[in-house]
């Protein structure tokens, strides 16, 4: 069912002629992949939808509108809390996408607030957030040490009255990952929004999305992340003919050229995204596995392809940590 979902997102007219049971399955798969809001905006105005589908999609659009308000408000609260530090505050992921008014933000579900700040300002930022009502989610010295040493972000904080989490990053991949993105360059190229908050440059947003899709997890929620990439590539390329060469240049700078290339190939395969063939490179056999993993969900919303999922889960740990460190991490988790 995920394949049909991807096809309809890419080409809404592909939904014509679906039967009731297929619609129910499509809605369920879209919910499971956090793509119902995006689907709802893609199908807005599509003729001949069943009345029930019209209602479900309309409610999904309202819901994503509310998600957008909440995300922007949380960003504004962080801006107010951090105004005194003078540090640049760069929005990442979903909040950045909606704050920049990008097409990818239409209907997008948004979870935690993710921000990027310069590494040397982490202590100031942390102090100001704690003063403004954010609290550590868990008090645990091992976790704290683990984050400080091995992670690209502070341990998660949650606001005590608004119950919203914030992830404060100082770069976009853990220091243990093999690619080493240039955090200073990310910050230097960032773009100011009217509010004073910032987003990454368009090219860096795509690079970050690609890094996040592959390196920072086991591809859970990958279909949604790839949809972000599809929308951004289309929008940025249409806006600016210099986009593709700059994307290639930034991908190289952040040591993420193969990652970006793979994201481009997958976007092209699943969402028919027009991509720069030189940057995308030649298809690789392993692309098949990634494609299958991204589509591993049925019309009941159940995950499928258990073995493939597990392989990707192992891979995510492998990529984040060198083997010795991984062993030490799993040992500590198991024995404390």
């Amino acid at each position: 069912m995920s394949r049909l979902l991807a096809r309809i997102l890419a080409d809404p007219s592909a939904c014509r002629g679906l039967e009731a049971a297929q619609w129910t399955a499509l809605v369920t798969a879209a919910r499971a992949e956090s793509l119902l809001g995006s689907l709802a905006f893609r199908l807005e105005g599509e003729p001949g939808l069943p009345a029930k589908v019209v209602q479900i999609l309309e409610a999904a659009r309202w819901d994503s509108e509310q998600a957008r308000t909440q995300a922007l408000w949380e960003a504004e609260m962080a801006r107010r809390a951090l105004a005194g530090t003078g540090a640049p505050v760069i929005l990442l992921k979903g909040t950045a996408i909606v704050a920049a008014g990008l097409d990818a933000g239409r209907g997008r579900s948004i979870g935690d607030l993710d921000i990027l700040v310069p590494h040397e300002r982490l202590d100031d930022v942390q102090r100001s957030l704690l003063e403004a009502g954010w609290e550590w989610v868990k008090e645990d010295s091992y976790d704290d040490l683990y984050y400080r040493r091995w992670m690209h972000e502070l341990p998660p904080l949650i606001h005590r009255t608004r119950d919203r989490m914030i992830d404060v990053h100082h770069t976009i991949l853990p220091p243990t990952a093999r690619p080493r993105p240039d955090a200073a360059a990310l910050i230097a190229a960032s773009v100011a929004l009217e509010s004073g908050l910032r987003t990454l440059s368009p090219e860096d947003m795509v690079v970050h999305s690609a890094a996040h899709l592959f390196a920072d997890g086991d591809l859970a929620g990958g279909l949604r992340n790839l949809w972000d990439i599809d929308r951004m590539l289309r929008e940025f390329a249409a806006r600016d003919p210099g986009f593709w060469p700059r994307l290639a240049e930034r991908a190289r700078l952040h040591q993420l050229r193969p990652t970006v290339a793979r994201a481009l190939r997958l976007a092209r395969a699943l969402y028919a995204t027009p991509v720069d063939p030189a940057l995308a490179g030649r298809p690789r056999l392993s692309d098949r596995f990634f494609e299958a993993r991204l589509l591993a969900r049925n019309g009941w919303g159940q995950p499928t392809r258990r073995a493939l999922r597990f392989a990707f889960y192992l891979r995510s740990h492998w990529m984040r940590m060198p083997p010795l460190m991984l062993a030490r991490h799993l040992w500590t988790k198991a024995t404390r």
């Binding site: 609290e135 989610v137 868990k138 645990d140 949650i158 119950d163 989490m165």
Partner: protein, 138 residues
């Protein structure tokens, strides 16, 4: 209630307080709170939607003991209590938090410590949604 309300009800922005000149306004004591924010409630539906449980402590901290104030401490710390043998059910948690009967198999002091642990749960921790759903409004 009806009529007076509906006349006033749909004022957009601007005239918040509908003031008549020289209405007496008490500013109140500095400590008196005047803002209540409506927060999401799974509240009263708890019983009808779920049958939840709270692991004490959560899986990430298994093996740790619970101090009287609900914080987690190393096993065997004086004045602390061993975790319960099984997760606390939503129904039991409700009773515990009200300070009512002690569920079977618990003594009252450890029950108090568990209740304090549950009160300290925060979003993102195991059992939090269960706890949040038990917060009956007052």
């Amino acid at each position: 209630m009806g009529d007076a309300m509906s006349e006033q009800s749909s004022k957009e922005g601007g005239v918040l307080a509908n003031p008549t000149r020289r209405t007496v306004l008490a500013l109140g004591a500095a400590a008196a709170s005047t803002v209540v924010t409506i927060r999401p409630a799974l509240a009263q539906t708890a019983g009808s939607v779920m049958n939840c449980q709270i692991p004490v402590p959560g899986p990430q901290h298994s093996g740790q003991y619970i101090a009287a104030d609900g914080s987690l401490v190393a096993p065997g710390t004086p004045g602390s209590f061993a975790p319960p043998a099984r997760p606390i059910t939503g129904e039991e948690a409700k009773t515990l938090l009200r300070g009512g009967f002690t569920p079977n198999g618990m003594d009252s002091q450890s029950a108090q410590a568990y209740a304090n642990y549950i009160r300290r749960l925060q979003s993102g921790m195991s059992g939090f949604t269960c706890y949040a759903s038990l917060q009956l409004p007052r």
